[in-house]
Symmetry: C2
């Protein structure tokens, strides 16, 4: 029974996060109140506060959840690939997949918006973002070595360029437009491989 | 006298825009009221409303001003360069310069934030953004032709990748950090030239 209760609680938190993410996206973070979130979920205000003490806490959990998604669907899914070049190609494809995921877009986009978060919480999110940049940077170093690359692009600049290309997609991408996931992944990989690890 | 009055008015609007941009950056767009803007400028509320009818109008003018900066400092400054490759290299350098400009960062960053703007105004800003993407896209086409490029990267995907790399810089850049303007411009140009127009 203990397990069932915990599962239910987890599901409720997830549902609150998804609903809050949708409201933040539609009407803006600041303009959305805890009351709005409770109303959209048909929860009493007390019911919502049982899960989250403040909007700050929802935002922090949303950002953490976005980093969990990146960790699981990108980092963990490529760790087992022995060949560094194949690992980097897969990372590019998987990260683009996360950015384009209809289900997760409202959550992952929160990572890039400039909303005021308590400094102690902001620090924790920034640390997770940095960890991902370092993972990509180390992978680029490995690929450059494996290919005896003559590129003068440093793994650090390469990582920022690659993550910029990919994370920026949410700014212009339209589902059903001429540039779709597979084509985009192929072209972005071509740019990065020829551009930074040749 | 007519000229002096107009100049003064223009200066006031610019000053209001800069102050508003700073407040939006510090405390968030939604959390900033017209009263806050007036107070920061030591203006009466009537004095502020003389220049701007609403916060919506300030946001729209800010975004337009950010596009004016791009137009003047990037597009107009490269149009006269005859060699397409040199034109693209200069565009990369100039655009990075705009993103890193301490004076303009608070203004240009507003282009990328998701704030609710009336659809008719949003449309006008999006049209200007698209115009810039098309300018970059046409230039990439020209460079690929001039170099008889064998790249299978389309000018459209190339333009989005390049603008993503550059516009993303504001997310991670720290003044005084190890990656500074000149070094960044050189490495990003190397990635793009080897990656998309080789």
């Amino acid at each position: 029974m203990g397990t069932v209760t915990r599962e239910t609680t987890l599901d409720s938190r997830q549902e609150i996060l998804r609903t809050a993410a949708r409201l933040f996206q539609e009407q803006g973070y600041d303009a959305t109140s805890m009351n709005d979130v409770a109303a959209a979920l048909k929860l009493s205000k007390g019911g919502l506060y049982h899960h989250f003490q403040s909007k700050d806490e929802i935002l922090f959990d949303l950002m953490n959840h976005a980093m969990d998604i990146t960790q699981e669907r990108v980092v963990n899914s490529v760790r087992g690939i022995a060949d560094p070049e194949e690992r980097l190609r897969t990372l590019i494809r998987r990260h683009i997949g996360v950015v384009l995921s209809e289900r997760d877009r409202e959550i992952t986009v929160m990572l890039h918006e400039n909303h005021p978060l308590r400094p102690s919480l902001r620090k924790q999110i920034n640390a997770r973002k940095k960890e991902y940049v370092h993972f990509v940077e180390a992978l680029i170093t490995e690929v450059q070595r494996a290919r005896s690359s003559k590129s003068s692009v440093t793994p650090r600049a390469g990582a920022f360029a690659l993550l910029g290309m990919i994370n920026w997609i949410y700014q212009w991408y339209r589902p059903g437009g001429p540039l779709q996931e597979e084509d985009l992944a192929r072209q972005y990989a071509e740019i990065f491989f020829a551009g930074a690890v040749q």
